[in-house]
């Protein structure tokens, strides 16, 4: 027995020494208090396509804010990083490289086809998934890029179907002659990659496509050529006000009586933009949309509640694609929830979120868009579209949701 005072001191010292590891050597570093994942948006906020992207980015931001206000997903918050790329591929690439190592970066939103393609090697290396609007190429060559909307070419196919029905309903025989007029850009050409083959399959006469430079002030030359070729219908595209400006010029040329114009690229005459600018000219234009529009959109409970909560302006100012941002968030919330259940927060990585996105098949979009189709064999967000017409300066529905044909699979040379 050790009885001396010295021995007792030594014993106490030994106990202290044994307890020390917890405080020095073996103590773990303090962890960040808040668990979060990072969502990177390489968006155009002040550049040429800001009119299209900025409203989408705005509602995506509100969706994330709302998600965080509800405590995040199982306590994991979402940190949103938004880079204003001004529609510049080099800027997007540089910004991506800068943020690629950010804490638990698990998803990127890249609403620019060219930037997505330029970044593909880097993103593959990082196993990072991304979201892009509606280029069917990403369904044809499946990777980690998911589409937000029904592919453009599938919408083109659905438009061909609608035209054929309309033609028959008007008591016409034979098949109609159809023109195509859009931007000279990857966006403008994408619908024809599969859409053209579908038109051929259906036996309609599709005129040689007419492309005009982005930003063209006048469309008379191209419209005249389409008219002279005997078009009964003309499929148009571009981000509003472009389609409304096409209609302005078609109206000036007196073509509206002869040709039915149908916008099939989702960004056609919008109530707060082109319809407001050229109400008479756009009247009667038909729109093929992958997303709820007009009063239907404004009265949708999810849209209404989030708009009321976050937008400090009337819902009449909501743009056609604005609801898309809420949907991006809804899908992300579901996928993150699955990924967290699968592997937990500590182990969560890009691959887990990629896998989870393929498991959210059937996720409800609250009627704003068709239910989710993402799966191991699908990068399509949805396969339905809806047709509207501009009537009395309002976008009103003329069909219910219609299943769009798979035209992506018809195109062979990607």
């Amino acid at each position: 027995m050790i009885r001396s005072g010295f021995a007792k001191a030594i014993a106490v010292g030994a106990c202290v020494a044994l307890a020390l590891p917890a405080y020095i050597g073996c103590a773990k570093e303090a962890k960040p208090q808040e668990k979060y994942v990072t969502f990177l948006s390489l968006s155009d906020i002040t550049g040429p396509s800001a009119g299209l992207i900025s409203p989408l980015q705005e509602t995506l931001g509100w969706g994330i804010e709302d998600l965080n206000s509800r405590g995040g997903v199982d306590g994991v918050k979402v940190k949103s990083i938004v880079i204003d790329t001004r529609y510049d591929v080099a800027r997007a690439a540089s910004a991506y490289k800068r943020h690629q190592a950010d804490h638990k970066l698990v998803m990127a939103f890249i609403p620019q086809t060219a930037a997505g393609k330029a970044l593909a090697p880097l993103m593959d290396h990082n196993k990072l998934s991304s979201l892009t609007p509606a280029d069917g190429e990403f369904q044809a060559i499946m990777g980690r890029t998911f589409l937000l909307l029904t592919p453009y070419q599938d919408a083109f196919g659905a438009t061909i179907d609608w035209i054929l029905k309309d033609w028959q309903a008007k008591g016409k025989t034979g098949v109609p002659t159809i023109g195509y007029l859009c931007w000279d850009s990857p966006y403008g050409r994408e619908p024809l990659r599969g859409g053209k083959e579908y038109a051929e399959m259906k036996g309609v006469k599709l005129l040689p496509p007419e492309f005009f430079p982005v930003g063209a002030a006048d469309h008379t030359v191209w419209l005249t050529r389409i008219n002279n070729a005997g078009a009964n219908y003309c499929i148009i595209g571009g981000v509003d006000p472009t389609p409304s400006l096409i209609m302005r010029d078609a109206n000036k040329l007196g073509l509206k009586e002869k040709i039915q114009f149908v916008d099939a690229l989702y960004c056609g005459p919008d109530e707060p933009v082109g319809i407001k600018l050229h109400p008479e000219a756009v009247e009667g234009t038909v729109l093929c949309s992958a997303i709820l529009r007009g009063d239907e959109a404004r009265k949708n409970p999810l849209i209404q509640s989030l708009w009321t909560k976050y937008a400090n302006r009337p819902i009449t100012e909501m743009r056609a694609l604005s609801p898309g941002g809420f949907l991006i968030c809804k899908d992300f919330e579901k996928a993150l929830s699955i990924a967290l259940k699968d592997v937990g927060y500590e182990k969560l990585g890009t691959e887990d979120v990629y896998q989870a996105y393929q498991k959210i098949t059937g996720n409800s979009r609250d009627g704003i868009l068709g239910d989710c189709l993402y799966s191991p064999t699908s990068r399509r967000s949805s396969d339905v579209v809806k047709f509207y017409r501009v009537v009395n300066s309002k976008v009103v529905p003329i069909t219910d949701w219609i299943k769009a044909p798979d035209t992506v699979s018809l195109h062979k040379e990607w």
């Binding site: 050790i2 010295f6 021995a7 030594i10 010292g13 030994a14 020494a17 044994l18 020390l20 590891p21 020095i24 050597g25 073996c26 570093e29 906020i45 002040t46 550049g47 040429p48 396509s49 800001a50 009119g51 990083i81 880079i83 204003d84 790329t85 001004r86 529609y87 510049d88 591929v89 080099a90 800027r91 997007a92 690439a93 540089s94 910004a95 490289k97 800068r98 190592a101 330029a118 090697p121 880097l122 290396h125 982005v214 930003g215 002030a217 981000v239 006000p241 472009t242 400006l245 933009v273």
Partner: protein, 201 residues
Amino acid sequence: MNHLRPQKIFLTGVALLLLLLPVAACAPKAPPPPPPAPPAGTIAVEPAKIDMDLLKTNFEILVKLRRYTPEVAAKLPVQLGLLVQPVTFIGEGWPANEMVFVDLVIPPDVEMKGLDRSRGEDSVGIAVGTADSQGRFEAIMEAAAKLNWLLRTDWLPTVTPDLASLKPLPTGTYTIRATGIDPRTVATGTWVLELSAPAGK
């Protein structure tokens, strides 16, 4: 020396050992040194200097190409000549088959739309290319990049540049920074930009 009994010496030793063990054994291990960064190559830009004379020459080409009437041409800023001036970034000695990112460093006193300095950004990407198997790369500067970052234009809702809003970068010698996939692989160069007429001219 009777207080230095073997028992005390032994216990003191044990206590010291106990104290040292956790400190030594449980101290965080130094992370293994990262592999060395791949060596950076070179970076240069052609033309190395863009001045008003060059822009005026190019503007005349632009006017001919687009068949602008003298009246229309007279209303356009001569800096638009930049759009027909090829700008190419070239380098060699980069990791083979890897991407190279070229940024323009924006001095702190220069305003740049889209640049978020609060997030630590000091540059904008202006070109991107991929090195070949020999480590050589060439990247061109696209028209949108010239408009956005050199001429600092705004955009109209009709998706056209707002020429009335043109704010060419101030005259100066700018740093261009090329980075490989590994962020430590960095090379810099300079670029002389005189995109505005000197005051008084």
